[in-house]
Symmetry: C2
Subunit: 210 residues, 2 copies
């Protein structure tokens, strides 16, 4: 009998997989890989990424949407990823200030971690070097916040800025989102993270040994 | 400039793609195929299938969840698919009576169709011949309801009962959900539906011709 792990991936267009012609995104690839890597797991994949969503938008919906999907007797995991939309300048102002982004993240991570295991993936770079500076700053702050909350955090922005596939696809697509090769690269970074091992360990640990 | 079509697929575990080791499900395959078939479309794929959801559960969440995803200046489409869980017998009772299933469907379809284009895919068969009779009955009633509301409806239950791949994968998996070959078969039926042409026509028709 395999363990029934249900994952809510909560975030923005990058979580949605916008631009990926295969419609798998990084979340579909990571879920499929996790099942291939762990004989003991069946993974249900709930993709709750919404285009244009800031941390503010996500704060207002993540609780209800994940509760709808994670009520029941099975293993639960919530994976957050957001931040790029917060750093967009619109009408002269940043959509969400860095301070507010962190307050929003703190509220979500604290509440989610009281319910189940939580992971966070940092925001990726886009084809705008000035915005990438703000994304990197936010990434550093989110990493610190997550450390203070004992939530595992994976920063991907530096590796993707140095990745020719990600940066070329983003630039030639819509300036923000890659196509399938970029999402495959991001999925590879996420799948290689050793926190997925912990996930398995944490699940095994609740199985009584007779 | 391609047209920006965002689709909410709303329903149950079959919409989620439960059992599909590729994590694409039929909704991912249909969305990718639609983009390949139509040079003029970019398709955003929102999968809002939840395991164990009956029409009652979906009635309570579809509006809020689709509104979160479909507010904005782009083409919108809602695709519903549910019914199998309604026909499950639990503790001697059917989870949702046939009459209540139809009332729930009528409420959702009427409201959704007042907002944007709506399609409905009927419930698929499982590995339980008695439940399949109830699924077929519900399928017939949903088809009639949809016709009365001018909502295009695609029945798939008879073709899938006759499909050895679907029935074999369902039986050898968990008795309800196929693996990737079954979902590929269902996606092929859905993609071949001529209502996707209408979708394209309807979108083209709002583009002014100068």
């Amino acid at each position: 009998m395999k363990k029934d792990l249900r994952i809510c991936f909560i975030g923005d267009s990058f979580v949605n997989g916008t631009g990926d012609e295969t419609k798998l995104g990084w979340t579909g690839r990571v879920s499929a890989q996790l099942e291939r890597d762990r004989d003991d797991l069946e993974v249900t994949h709930y993709n709750l990424g919404i285009r244009r969503n800031t941390s503010e938008d996500i704060l207002n919906r993540w609780g209800e949407e994940s509760q709808q999907r994670l009520e029941g007797d099975f293993e639960k995991l919530i994976v957050f990823s957001f931040g790029v939309n917060d750093t967009v300048i619109e009408g002269g102002d940043q959509r969400v200030s860095a301070q507010q982004s962190l307050e929003n993240a703190r509220a979500m991570l604290t509440e989610a971690a009281s319910v189940c295991r939580v992971l966070m993936i940092g925001p990726p770079p886009i084809a705008d070097s000035e915005q990438n500076i703000r994304i990197k700053d936010l990434d550093g702050s989110l990493a610190e916040l997550c450390q203070s909350l004992s939530v595992p955090y994976l920063s991907v922005v530096s590796e993707l800025i140095d990745d020719p596939i990600w940066m070329r696809e983003v630039a030639s697509n819509d300036g923000a989102h890659p196509r399938s090769a970029g999402y495959t690269k991001l999925a590879t970074l996420v799948s290689a993270w050793d926190e997925w091992d912990c996930c398995s360990v944490s699940i095994s640990s609740i199985i009584p040994i007779d």
